[in-house]
């Protein structure tokens, strides 16, 4: 072969291999579907979800059969979602957190207004929607009003508290009331009394994340607001903001809670709670789904109302994880059929029965588990908490992750004692307002 021939062959091999099908490029399926994902004339719906939250592979196959659709499940990934939206081929249904995502998605014009679909639906009837679904509404200025851009799959009132009666008894601390919310000062005092440090036993008195969503609720509870009226800026320097930050810094500095400066090596609350090393965990009703997996924990775990910071009893939800449909979706009617099935059909009933969250449909509420003592107690406490739910509006100009990134960047210095509360508030304002200003430029 000549030199020229060698170079020509190089190009030829590449072209032949690409065009001629030297190798089968079909992806291998892990399910029993041998068609390699090409199931004839069946309409296809792509859902971007997390783990197995819509069901195990067998449940997805059952859904395909029930719906007569080919369902493709993609792992939720913001980069992939961005790429798909940019390529003009978004998934048909996408996971999201209504409480913090809905205004952003609506303002950026990527989410489909679902009012017409809800109006016609015999499965997801508007009258049956739990008030939590209002976090998925946005009228261009206010969250909680206007068209519906999505619906929760389930939810919790996230500032409620699970506690370990065994640790309360050991420390001689009175259990929280089932009916009267603790004040934040009481939470601090109990947490301090329950905290144990030392070589033999390390117990956190409380877990409290100290993130944007928490401060939003604490400030609202005092009758204040974190965001300005047009949601283009935050003000942590307000008296309400300073009071919330001061309380949290006192808690974190005392080592009562894991924090960004002193994180829990387990990464989240359940393993520590299960190991009898966390007396109070600030987690909503969904945490009961974890308690159900461990009989020992079920004996001592009990549920308490969300504590009250100011004069207003506010028990919000900072997630309301659910699903929305991209406006650019190609197959909306089929997607809606799948939407109805997963959010109002058999999978929704199974989720309600598991106790891993409160159902987003009122009609499913009686399915919540009430067999074990802790389940009965949690159910009763939860029923009394519901009237105190309210939508706390979030900004349409930035994602929660971006705001929390600023909090996580600034907070460690304050917890370690190098930064005064006033300066912390200034740095939070400066960092977050920069994000919001950049975000506002992108919204028409």
């Amino acid at each position: 072969m000549t030199r020229r021939g060698f170079l020509t062959t190089s190009a030829g091999v590449a072209a032949a291999a690409t065009g001629g099908g030297l190798l089968s490029g079909c992806a291998g399926s892990v399910s029993s579907d041998k068609s390699g994902g090409k199931s004839g004339a069946k309409a296809a719906v792509t859902i971007m979800s997390n783990g197995t939250e819509l069901g195990e592979p067998a449940a997805i196959k059952a859904a395909e059969k029930a719906l007569g659709l080919k369902l493709t499940i993609l792992k939720y990934d913001l980069t992939r979602l961005t790429a798909m939206l940019t390529a003009g081929s978004p998934p048909d249904i996408v996971r999201g957190q209504g409480a913090v995502d809905a205004p952003y998605l609506a303002a950026h014009g990527v989410a489909q207004d679902l009012d017409d679909y809800f109006a016609k639906s015999s499965i997801l009837k508007v009258g049956d929607l739990d008030p939590i679904n209002d976090v998925w509404r946005y009228d261009g200025t206010t969250q909680g009003k206007g068209p519906r851009y999505g619906m929760a799959k389930d939810y919790s009132q996230d500032n409620m508290i699970w506690y370990n009666t065994g640790l309360f008894d050991q420390a001689g601390v009175e259990n929280p009331s089932d009916t009267v919310p603790m004040t934040y000062d009481e939470v601090f005092e109990k947490g301090k009394a329950l905290t144990r440090t030392g070589k033999k036993a390390k117990v956190y008195g409380l877990s409290f994340a100290g993130n944007t969503a928490n401060f939003l609720t604490m400030i609202a509870s005092q009758g204040g607001q974190l965001f300005t009226d047009d949601f283009s800026a935050v003000d942590f320097s307000s008296p309400e903001g300073i009071k919330a930050l001061t309380w949290y810094l006192k808690l974190a500095k005392a080592g009562i809670t894991p924090s960004i400066a002193n994180p829990d090596p387990n990464g989240w609350d359940w393993p520590t709670f299960q190991a009898n090393r966390m007396a109070m965990a600030t987690d909503g009703y969904w945490f009961g789904g974890m308690v159900a997996t461990d009989k020992k924990s079920a004996e001592t775990a009990r549920f308490a109302p969300a504590p009250q910071f100011g004069s207003t009893r506010v028990s919000s939800c900072s997630g309301a994880t659910g699903y929305w449909m991209p406006k650019a979706g190609k197959n909306k009617d089929a997607a809606w059929a799948a939407y109805e099935y997963f959010l109002g059909g058999a999978p929704a009933k199974a989720r309600a029965e598991s106790g891993g969250g409160l159902p987003a449909l009122k009609s499913l509420r009686p399915l919540l588990p009430q067999t074990e003592a802790y389940q009965k107690q949690a159910y009763a406490v939860q029923e009394r908490e519901l009237p105190h739910f309210s939508v706390i509006s979030f900004t349409p100009y930035a994602r929660l992750d971006a705001l929390d990134a600023v909090v996580n960047q600034v907070m460690p210095a304050a917890i370690k004692g190098d930064l005064a509360v006033g300066k912390l508030a200034d740095q939070l304002n400066s960092g977050i307002n920069k994000q919001l200003a950049n975000g506002k430029k992108l919204v028409k």
């Binding site: 060698f6 792992k75 190991a275 974890m290 969250g357």
Partner: protein, 274 residues
């Protein structure tokens, strides 16, 4: 004196080896604990009861072997193709004369400096527009296009081979294709082994590309192990099964390295990188 010096040297080496292997050791111990022991304090250095069943549960909790098959398919396709195409390109850069060759080689090397994240979204768009999302074609194309580092490795190795070898072959009537296949490629087994190990490991361990391009049903073990050991009701991670899955996930790469390690070491040390 020499004995003391050698002993202290070994002590340091053992300490360093222990330090570097400890994360893997901790992973294995985590894989053998039950869930309540994971967060125990004081720390349990060894499990109270060794939970060997965690490994069988890790295999059945998710379709582990099916994901492993997907990973293996992609890794084999990519590593074989990229090794051959990189050897081919490396041979061209090392042994052929062409105008602008030096410049092209410089451009090729400069692409190694570009973070992969920058090209992620454009790459997705190209594959989406050409209907290759949720297929293994991207790995075929990436394999055929060669990898800059491997081309560099082959080029350095081939450049060090004596010119007389090539000249003798030409006198005997060999073209460049046969020179490459019959003479240079068989001589380059240490670099071939290095290339196979490296490219297999890259693909086996890659999380980003499969999570971007493949659906949950077609994805690889790297993505499945990281995301699917969760409780169905709450989506919370099951850490001991995740650790067991991760331990088993490492095994194929370890085996490949053990089989090819002689070539890997020789390849790295004889390809002009000294």
């Amino acid at each position: 004196m020499i004995l003391a010096r050698r002993t202290s040297m070994y002590m340091i080496l053992i300490a360093l080896a222990t330090l570097f292997i400890s994360p893997f050791g901790w992973l294995v111990i985590t894989a053998l604990k039950n869930t309540s022991e994971l967060a125990a304090y004081p720390l349990h250095w060894t499990p109270d009861k060794w939970q060997w069943s965690n490994f069988s549960r890790a295999l059945t909790q998710i379709p582990y072997l099916a994901y492993a098959r997907n990973s293996l398919t992609i890794a084999v396709i990519y590593s074989v193709l990229v090794t051959l195409s990189s050897a081919w390109a490396g041979f061209g850069f090392a042994r052929l004369r062409a105008r602008g060759k030096g410049f092209l080689f410089g451009v090729l090397l400069s692409t190694m400096m570009m973070p992969a994240m920058i090209t992620l979204i454009p790459t997705y768009i190209i594959f989406a527009k050409t209907g290759m999302v949720d297929t293994y074609w991207p790995w075929v194309l990436w394999g055929l296009s060669g990898a800059p580092y491997l081309i560099f490795l082959f080029r350095q190795f081939f450049a060090n081979m004596p010119r007389e070898l090539e000249e003798a072959a030409i006198i005997d009537g060999c073209g460049y294709g046969r020179i490459f296949w019959r003479i240079f490629l068989p001589q380059s087994w240490p670099v071939l082994a290095t290339s196979l190990v490296l490219s297999f490991t890259w693909t086996w361990g890659d999380y980003i590309a499969p999570s971007l391009l493949l659906s949950a049903d077609h994805t690889t073990l790297a993505v499945a192990v990281a995301t699917e050991y969760v409780t169905p009701s709450t989506g919370a991670p099951i850490n001991n099964l995740l650790a067991a899955g991760a331990v088993m996930y490492i095994i194929p790469v370890l085996l490949l390295f053990l089989v090819l390690q002689k070539g890997f070491v020789t390849g790295s040390s004889t390809s002009g990188l000294k």
